[in-house]
């Protein structure tokens, strides 16, 4: 495993282009585009203000930079560096900006969610979509990019509009049976739309592309409900994480619950592998000090850590949440299926330092990773069943069915990993710190050394 040198960035804005060739980073009001392999700067663009949001177009030809405070969006072209485009939302303000899937339209959401403006880069045409709903996830594009679902609120009722992205033709518009719609998400095959209610009510509604209600699911009443939701890559399963610290899996034929994953405080099953991170401060002798100071630039007093496998009756540290306050830190907040759909990773908020990996074939708990600090972010390798996670420490953690490893990020200034994102081919990983970033390259050629690293 190799690490690149460290680059500066701001606002954690680092994106690898969808084709995997470029790395775009924002430093204050500058946009830097590098080659992923050589890390040489290919282009450097200067925006009008500090960039708050940056996004690659789907064809990796354009980059969108949004400056919400000024209501400005600037678009840069990689092919034609002198080509420029500036969209000014004016006095109405801007809170969100994104590319349409075709990479030729930009959707801007104005302040107060007054409307969504669709700007076409082809025709300069502007379209408005009124009454968008301000919620957790109000807009979702289908995976193939042909449809967009938008949550709307009219007359105190929730509606969903389905647009054809090609020409923004309103395909369907229907009312949903929700009290307060919180989000919507297309299934990966783009045929089913999952709509869920706000946390006050546990309710998931499944709509067909043509607006028919396929099914609705509610696990319980009165208590706080859904916190997160994820489709399996095959659209076969819908995982619903809720405030009761459980994940419920629905199937795609009957839309009934198949199973329920609990997050117990004690792991008793001997089939579950429990990795516990153990920190160790190396005992240094004078010789070590002298040799170290001469030979390498490694941080001397860095805490070393490694995973140890714990034996079954394993107690997980639980933080008792303050249930009286709003948005209590309890329940399953993040869910992610692995690319092959065989594993599901979850995080329960009142066990913040633990990531759970579930086997979707056996419908059982496969592994539990307990870190010393709270987990900030985890993401699956887009190619392999490999999970990367970070905890805000200078370490990167990786899990695979073969084992688990904790890797120290070599840096002088104590580079702390706050977020990470995989390269689309799964060979490298962008580690994002507070103001820096660094690339981590997986050893793909010689698997033998790789497997040696993994401690099982």
């Amino acid at each position: 495993m190799n690490f690149s040198e460290i680059f500066k960035q701001s606002n954690q804005l680092c994106r690898i282009s969808p084709d995997g060739r470029y790395l775009a980073t924002c430093v204050q009001y500058r946009l830097v585009v590098r080659d992923v392999n050589s890390l040489q700067i290919l282009h450097l663009y200067t925006c009008l203000d500090q960039i708050v949001h940056m996004e690659w177009s789907s064809d990796s030809l354009f980059i969108l930079c949004a400056m919400y405070k000024r209501g400005l969006v600037q678009v840069w072209s990689l092919e034609q560096p002198d080509w420029h485009c500036k969209i000014d939302e004016g006095s109405i303000g801007l809170v969100s900006s994104r590319w349409s899937p075709d990479g030729r339209h930009i959707l801007n959401t104005t302040e107060f969610h007054l409307r969504v403006t669709v700007w076409s880069l082809c025709t300069k045409a502007v379209s408005y979509i009124k009454y968008p709903k301000a919620c957790q996830k109000g807009i979702d594009f289908s995976r193939d990019g042909s449809y967009m679902a938008l949550a709307e609120r009219r007359d105190c009722k929730d509606y969903v509009s389905v647009f054809v992205c090609e020409d923004w033709h309103l395909l369907r518009h229907f009312e949903t049976e929700t009290q307060d719609l919180a989000g919507l998400e297309w299934s990966p095959n783009g045929c089913v739309l999952a709509v869920w209610d706000s946390c006050l009510e546990y309710k998931v509604l499944l709509y067909s592309l043509d607006g028919r209600l396929l099914s609705s699911f509610s696990a319980y009443e009165w208590s706080l409900g859904i916190k997160s939701l994820a489709w399996s890559p095959s659209s076969q399963f819908l995982a619903i994480g809720s405030f009761d610290e459980k994940v419920r899996i629905l199937n795609h034929i009957t839309w009934k619950k198949i199973t329920e994953f609990e997050h117990p405080a004690t792991i008793c099953s001997p089939k579950t592998v429990v990795y516990k991170e153990v920190e160790k401060r190396p005992a240094l002798s004078i010789q070590d000090l002298s040799s170290h100071s001469v030979s390498s630039g490694c941080p001397l007093l860095a805490v070393q850590s490694k995973y140890e496998i714990s034996q079954p009756p394993f107690q997980i540290p639980v933080v008792k949440p303050d249930l009286d306050r709003a948005n209590p830190k309890v329940g399953v907040s993040s869910l992610a299926f692995s690319a092959d759909g065989r594993y599901l990773a979850t995080k329960n908020d009142n066990m913040a330092s633990v990531v759970w990996v579930w086997n979707m074939q056996k419908m059982s708990l496969e592994a539990v990773l307990e870190q010393t600090a709270a987990v900030r972010c985890f993401q699956w390798d887009p190619r392999r069943p490999r999970l990367a996670l970070c905890t805000g420490t200078p370490r990167l953690y990786l899990w695979s069915p073969a084992g688990s490893v904790s890797v120290q990020v070599p840096s002088e200034g104590g580079f702390q990993v706050h977020a990470l994102s995989w390269h689309s081919n799964g060979d490298s990983l962008v580690l994002i710190g507070k103001e820096h970033l660094c690339l981590c390259y997986m050893d793909t050629e010689d698997k033998s050394t790789d497997s040696n690293i993994w401690t099982k």
Binding site: S58, D59, G71, D82, W83, H84, C85, K86, I87, D88, E89, G90, S91, I92, D102, G103, R104, F112, L114, R115, W119, L121, C122, T123, K124, V126, K130, Y131, S146, Y147, R153, R154, D155, C156, V164, E166, D167, H169, L171, N189, G190, C191, S208, L209, D210
Partner: protein, 601 residues
């Protein structure tokens, strides 16, 4: 309790009254008896009673007699009249009889009186006991009453508490209801307000949008260097109705595609399941079919089992066809057929399994409780028969063998062997005799030893006797010597010293003391002398003389010395030495006596 206490004295009084009446009765009867006694004794002690009793005086004797006669007759003792009715004189024999009877009666009554008195005592004691029990029970009752009242009080308090709690609960419930109502009201109010606000918000937004549009916001603009081509390279199309319909079509197409894909996957799954089913069916048939030859092999099998395998085979063929059809055509009918065949097969399998189970259990029971079924029983019996035959054969074999042996023995039993046998017998006899002899010898030896022991014991006895005699002689000599008045005191000390020598001499010493003490009683003295003369052996005259001669100065007790007998000259010398010694040291003896004066002797 009160009732009891009230009634109990009554009962007691009643009893008392009864008892008193009875006693009065007895008393009266006794008095009567006394009277009669008195009257009967009157003639005997006329003079003495004359003055005292007013009942009978000399003048009214006949009247008295008559009176008593009457009384007696009235008492049932009239069978024998004490007086002749004519003369009115006392007939002594009946009178005495009457007196005797009266006395008897009186004694009887006394006895009964005593018994009754005892009864009375007993009853009174039981009464007392009952009364104490009564008191105790009363106390207990009182206590329990108090307890009860306490409990009542407690219960009452608890009841009160419960009531208050219930009222509390009720009020709480009401409170809850109220609160729930409030919450519901607030919720509805809140939702209403939220809606109102939302509407207002929407209105504001619309207004804002309107304003923004009206204002012709110059800023709102897009500044593009040159227009971009579409990502798919197509030219931009105009929005038309056609486009809309095409979108619909696309949507449905995609939906259809999805459904088709799903159906395809389901079909695949279905076919796989069918394959599995087929496999299962084949396996089932395979399991069922091998039963057939085995069933055919056993001719004694019962009909259902025999009948089953062919049916199974039929089913196999039939089902095989069915399944093949099923694979090809997946219409409703085929499915029905399939399920039907599967069910049939399954039922058969189940039946088969049940049969097998029952067979297994049957076999087990057979093992447990012997042969009960026909076929195994036959086998079993056959086996038994065979074994019996074998046993019989074996027995016969043994028998013949024995016979042969016997015959051989008999045939070889000639004179030679007879002599040999005889020799054997005599040898045996000899051995036995030898044994006996040995035993005899042993016994003899034992006897010898015993005899030896016995003689030894006799010798020892003789020795002991001798020593005893010697002791005795010495003692007697001492006694004799001490009988002199001036050595009167000294003998005690001497005898004391002697008694210390041997235990056996003690009783004799005692004996000897007594005569010394009781010298004054003449009869005893005589007795003692005679006794001593009988018991002692004869003394040799020479020694007697010598002793006499020696104790010449103390002639006063010469008579006594006559029966003194020292058994051996040495002993005598010793004795004399002693006596001499005693004489010599008289003074110290006296001194010692003074010392002895304190002793209990």
């Amino acid at each position: 309790m009160g009732d009891w206490s009230m009634t109990s004295p009554l009962g007691v009084s009643m009893e008392n009254s009864e008892i008193s009446s009875i006693s009065r009765v007895t008393l009266s009867s006794s008095r009567q008896n006394h009277d009669s006694l008195y009257s009967s004794s009157l003639p005997l002690s006329k003079s003495s009673h004359n003055v005292l009793s007013a009942f009978c005086i000399e003048e009214n004797v006949p009247q008295c007699i008559l009176y008593i006669n009457q009384e007696l007759s009235s008492l049932g003792l009239a069978s024998m009249c004490i007086a002749t009715p004519v003369e009115a004189t006392l007939n002594s024999v009946p009178a005495l009889n009457a007196m005797y009877e009266l006395l008897q009666a009186q004694r009887r009554s006394q006895r009964s009186l005593e018994a009754l008195e005892q009864d009375l005592l007993r009853t009174s004691s039981t009464l007392e006991h009952l009364q104490t029990g009564n008191y105790r029970l009363k106390d207990q009752l009182e206590l329990l009453k108090r307890e009860k009242s306490g409990l009542h009080e407690k219960e009452r308090q608890l009841q009160l508490k419960i009531e208050t709690l219930q009222s509390c609960l009720k009020s709480e419930k009401e409170e809850i209801q109220k609160l729930q109502n409030i919450i519901a009201g607030r919720a509805s109010q809140y939702s209403h307000d939220a809606k109102r606000k939302e509407r207002e918000c929407v209105k504001l937004k619309e207004r804002l949008g309107q304003l923004l549009i009206d204002k012709r916001d110059k800023k709102l603009a897009i500044d593009v260097l040159n227009y971009l081509g579409r990502s798919d390279g197509k030219r931009i199309q105009w929005k038309t109705g056609k486009a809309g319909t095409s979108h619909e079509g696309d949507m449905y197409k995609s939906l259809l595609n999805d459904y088709e894909a799903r159906q395809q996957s389901l079909m695949v799954e279905n076919s796989e399941l069918k394959k599995v089913l087929q496999q299962m069916k084949r396996d089932m048939m395979y399991i069922l079919s091998p039963h057939k030859p085995c069933a055919k092999a056993s001719p004694g099998d019962d009909s259902p089992e025999r009948g089953f395998p062919p049916a199974g085979l039929e089913g196999q063929d039939e089902v095989g066809e069915c399944s093949r059809e099923n694979l090809d055509q997946s219409c409703e009918k085929a499915r029905e057929q399939l399920t039907y065949s599967i069910r049939l097969q399954w039922r058969r399998l189940k039946n088969h399994m049940e049969k097998l189970d029952s067979q297994v259990s049957l076999a087990q029971t057979q093992q447990q409780s012997g042969s009960e079924e026909a076929v195994p029983r036959e086998v079993h019996e056959e086996e038994m028969q065979r074994m019996r035959l074998e046993v019989q054969q074996g027995k016969d074999f043994i028998h013949t063998q024995q016979q042969l042996l016997q015959k051989q023995l008999n045939s070889s039993f000639d004179d030679e062997t007879a002599a040999l046998l005889n020799d054997c017998y005599t040898l045996e006899e000899k051995e036995r005799l030898k044994e006996e002899w040995r035993l005899f010898e042993e016994q003899k030896g034992n006897f010898e030893r015993e005899r030896k022991n016995f003689t030894e014991a006799a010798i020892r006895l003789g020795h002991e006797k001798k020593t005893f005699e010697e002791d005795r002689a010495a003692w007697l000599k001492n006694q004799f010597l001490n009988l002199t008045p001036f050595v009167d005191r000294k003998k005690y000390s001497l005898s004391d010293s002697q008694s210390a020598l041997s235990i056996r001499s003690e009783p004799e010493l005692q004996q000897s003391y007594t005569p010394a003490k009781l010298t004054k009683s003449s009869t005893y003295n005589e007795f003692s002398t005679t006794y001593s003369s009988i018991s002692d052996g004869l003394p040799s005259t020479t020694e007697l003389y010598r002793t006499l001669h020696l104790i010449q100065p103390e002639t006063r007790h010469s008579k006594r010395g006559s029966w003194q007998e020292p058994s051996s000259p040495i002993r005598a010398e010793n004795l004399f030495g002693k006596s001499k010694c005693s004489v010599r040291c008289r003074d110290p003896c006296i001194l010692s006596l003074d010392k002895d004066g304190d002793s209990p002797i």
